[in-house]
């Protein structure tokens, strides 16, 4: 079973915090470890807060949760800029490629109707079914 969460926000810094909180809320519901949450939030920030990635004034963050992984898609983005940064994996630089390579898996840029989206997954072991923890 897949659970989908989608968030559309203005591409402005104060709203990036909203996206971070949504990821946090999901991590709490799924009982992800603090470190997994940190990885997801850092990966998200490395895309949202980078200058010149977003293609418009709004940006969408989509989360697909299955039994053993979380897939995050962010877009629409300027695919060329993102691809260039992903490929510029110099030995001694901390670019998008190295960041995402450390934090998440299966990083891909995909074409959609409204532009390019960056998609990656995070494997999470033994996800508990979503319960009402409150």
């Amino acid at each position: 079973m897949t659970t989908n969460i989608e968030l559309r926000i203005p591409n402005e810094k104060p709203y990036h915090g909203v996206a971070r909180l949504v990821v946090g809320g999901l991590a709490a519901r799924l009982a992800l470890s603090f470190e997994t949450l940190e990885d997801l939030q850092l990966a998200l920030a490395s895309v949202l807060e980078a200058d010149g990635y977003a293609a418009g004034d709004e940006i969408c963050v989509a989360l697909d949760v299955t039994d053993d992984r979380i897939q995050m898609s962010i877009g629409p983005l300027r695919g060329d800029t993102v691809r260039a940064d992903l490929d510029a994996a110099g030995e001694e630089t901390i670019g998008l490629g190295r960041l995402l390579g450390t934090l998440v898996e299966n990083v891909e840029v995909e074409k959609r109707e409204d532009g390019d989206w960056l998609r990656f997954t995070k494997a999470v072991r033994g996800l508990e079914p979503i319960e009402d923890h409150a």
Binding site: R20, A28, A50, D57, E91, T93
Partner: protein, 259 residues
């Protein structure tokens, strides 16, 4: 309105005849305006009375600079002055968003619990586990962790903010084990954008993104708390982004004109 007329009258008395009593009365008269503007910002955790004081400075500046012959109301002229003064106050304190003390304390508590639970469980704890150990809701944990973000943007040179808990000092544990590590580790991360980082920040980024160590492993190796490692990583990446970012102005202006 008679009150506004008397406001204009008072302004004339002050500006044309140097009547300082008229100035005092103007300040009193417009205090409710300052108060209502200050209230808008006091949710950020700053004491309302402090903000009223700060806002009054803006009001006084507006009264002093007001041009009686121009057809605008003092309210119109003073409002941006008052808000400007309040915003400057926040900037000067170094807090993008003032974090309420309760959340600051919870953040410190969570930092300790994170260490304890990581050892106890032999893995990184979950948010529900942290919440249970702290005796608070999961939402509060998330909020406190998020408040750590506002804190993380504090520059090292910013004033400590008066009565803040010493645990929150950004210079926490600075200079303890710093200089003991191998120079070779430091050599790797010298690419453009990384020069803005200090030695410890570079070392932590190296361990995380080149050696693939986890936050808790880095915390052990560097001898600081895991939460502190987390903050330093975020802040370092932010610094790098700021350093290598192209001129951000056009986009900002575009989004502002949209409002």
């Amino acid at each position: 309105m008679p009150e506004e007329q008397s406001g204009r009258e008072l302004l004339r008395r002050y500006h044309e005849h140097g009547d300082t009593e008229a100035r005092e009365r103007l300040i009193e008269q417009y205090l409710p305006l300052v108060r209502s503007l200050a209230r808008r910002y006091s949710y950020r955790g700053e004491q309302l009375e402090d903000l009223v004081q700060v806002g009054c400075i803006g009001l006084i500046k507006a009264i002093d600079r007001f041009d009686v012959d121009r057809g605008v109301e003092l309210t119109t002229y003073a409002t941006p002055n008052i808000i400007g003064e309040i915003k400057r106050h926040f900037r000067d304190k170094g807090w993008a968003i003032r974090v309420p003390r309760g959340l600051q304390e919870l953040n410190v508590r969570l930092s300790h619990l994170l260490e304890e639970l990581t050892v106890q469980l032999e893995r990184s704890p979950t948010i529900p586990e942290l919440a249970k150990a702290a005796g608070v809701d999961e939402e509060e944990v998330l909020e406190a962790l998020e408040s750590g973000q506002a804190y993380a943007t504090l520059s090292l040179s910013a004033p400590a903010g008066g009565d803040d808990d010493s645990d929150l000092d950004p210079l926490e544990s600075l200079g303890t084990i710093e200089h003991e590590y191998e120079v070779s580790e430091n050599r790797a991360v010298l690419a453009p954008g990384l020069k803005v980082l200090d030695e410890r920040e570079r070392r932590i980024l190296h361990l995380r993104f080149f050696e693939g160590l986890t936050q808790s492993q880095i915390a052990q190796q560097v001898g600081i708390s895991q939460m502190h490692v987390s903050r330093l990583i975020r802040r370092s990446l932010e610094k790098i982004r700021d350093e290598i970012a192209p001129e951000p102005e056009p986009r900002r202006r575009a989004s502002e004109s949209r409002r």
